[in-house]
Amino acid sequence: MTTTSLLHVADLHKRYGPGCAACAELTGPSQGRSQCPRCGTVYACVAANFSLQTGEVLGIVGESGSGKSTLLQMVNLSIAADQGQIWYHEPGGSAPVDLLRMDAYAARRFRNDRLGIVHQRPELGLNMHFSVGGNVAEKLLLAEWRHVGRIRGRTSELKLQTELPPERIDDEPYTFSGGMLQRVQIAKALASRPSLLLLDEVTSGLDLSVQARVLDLIRRIQWEEQITMLLVSHDLGVIRQLARRTIVMKNGHIIEAGLTDQIMEDPQHPYTQLLVSSAL
C-alpha cells in the first residue's frame, strides 16, 4: 500500500457455493464462465487487487455478471468477503485499518460516515416511503445531526449542488423521474461528506440526454470536491468520461488494469480488445 492510497484491496474473494477440487480448472476468463459446471459454485470475485489514490476516479468495467458490482458491494461492506483485506487509510489520519475486520456496528458507522453509494436502481438507495428531504437527511441523522434547522440547511445546499428543485424537497420520491432520482441518490451519498463515493451503473436505464446531464453533474462534483470515486459501469463511454484509471473484469477476475486512455487505445487482453472495439 502506497502512502497516498485511500483504499487498498488485497486478494479479495467472494464465491457462492461450496466449491470443489475442479473449480479452479473449470472457471475463470480462460474457460469463459464463473460458475463451476461440476458443483454449481459461482465465483463472483477472485483474487481482486487494486489501490485507489485520494481524489482519484477508478473505473471498473465488464459485462453483466463479471463481478464488478459484487466487488463494489464488498467495498461498501454490504456483502461479506470470503477472504482478503480492504485497507482504508484516512487522509491525514492514523494507521490504515482493515475494513473486513470491523464488527457490524463499526462497519455500519464507517459506511455512513466515510462512504456514499449511488445504486443503479433508486429503490435500493432510497426509502420510497420518506420524502426526498428525509432520504437525504438520513445520512446526517445517522451522523448524529440533531438540529432540524441545520439539517434543512445542509439538505438545501445539496439540492442546489445536485440541481434538484428546492421547492420539491418534501415531495415523495415516486413523483420524481429516473434522472432526478439519481440526483437525489447523489445528494444523499454526498450528505455526510464521504471520503469515497461508490457509483454502481448510475446512468444505466436513463435516456442519453439525462445520462449526459448526470455524468456532467458527477464530473463537476468530483472537480469541486476532489472526492475519490469508484465507478462501476458496463459502458466504456461512461468510464472514459470519468475515470483516470480502469480495471477490466471478466468472470470474476481482473484481467487488465491501467490508465483509461491506455486501455482504450492499446488494450492487451483479447476480451478488452473486444470491449473497446464494440464501444467504438
Partner: protein, 289 residues
Amino acid sequence: MQQNDDHLYTFGLLDEDAKREIRRSLLKAVAIPGHQVPFASRDLPIARGWGTGGLQITLAIITPEDTLKVIDQGDDAGVNAVNLRRLITQTTGVATTVATSEASLIQTRHRIPEEPLRADQILVLQVPMVDPLRWVEPNLERATVMHGEADYGRMWVYMYESVVRAGDLRIASQYPVMVNGRYMMDTTPIPRWDVPRLDMAEALFLFGAGREKRIYAVPPHTSVVPLQFEDYPFRTEYQAGQRCVRCGAENTFLTSHFVAGPADGGQWVTSCSDTNFCDQRLGAGEVQP
C-alpha cells in the same frame, strides 16, 4: 377460587419450569437494558392483549411476602386491573394494596404512578407492541439487524419528517427512547408525561409482551433519553389552566371525561389519571378542589 381447589394450582399459576425460564430472560433483559429478549410466552386464562406479558412476569417473580398493586391507566378499579388482581391473588394469596408506597410489586397498564418509586419496588408494564422500529421497518428480521447495528437512522427520519410535516414531534404515546445510549426502546403506550420517570429511576422497570413473546427491562439508575432535536425538544403533555376536578392538582397526568349535568347537558372535566395519588391528596387535604 374455592378453598378445596387450591391444590390444583402451583403458586403463581405457572409451572416452576415456566417461571424459571421467564426469570432467566428477565436476568438477560436487566443485563442488557432496552434489549428485547425472546421468551416462551405461555397460554393463560386471559386473552392475548389483556396483559399476558406483564402478567407472566409478575407471576414469575412474585413471592408470598410481596404486596401487590395492579393499575389500569392509573386506575386501581379499572376492568383490566380488577381482573388481573383477582387472578394473581387467587393463585398466590399475596396481600394487595392501592397505595403505591405500600406496594413492593406493581403491575401496570399504560401508566407509571405519580408517586416516585423506591429502590425496593418493581414496576411491571404490559406491552402491546414491542419494537419502536415497527413504524419504519415491518420486517422483524431486518429490524433485529438494525437493533444489532444500532442503525436507527430510519426512526430518526420518521421523527424528522414528523417535524417537517406537522411542525412538531407528533408522537403522543409509545414515545421512542434510547436506553443506556445503546438500544432504542418502545415505552409502551405510557403517555409522554411518564417518559422522564424512566430516566435514572430508583426502581426496576420490567416490560412484558405476551403476544409478541418479548421481555425487556430498564434497571435502576439507567439513562433513558427520549428521541428529540435540539430545536424541537421532547415535551410532556401540558395544557395551561387544566387541573383535576377532584383534588385540584395541576402537576399530574390528567384525563378528561364527560360529566352529564341536569340543566346544561353536562361538561368535559379533567381528573387525575392516578386515582390513588388523587385520593391521597384529598385525604391529606393538600389541595382543595
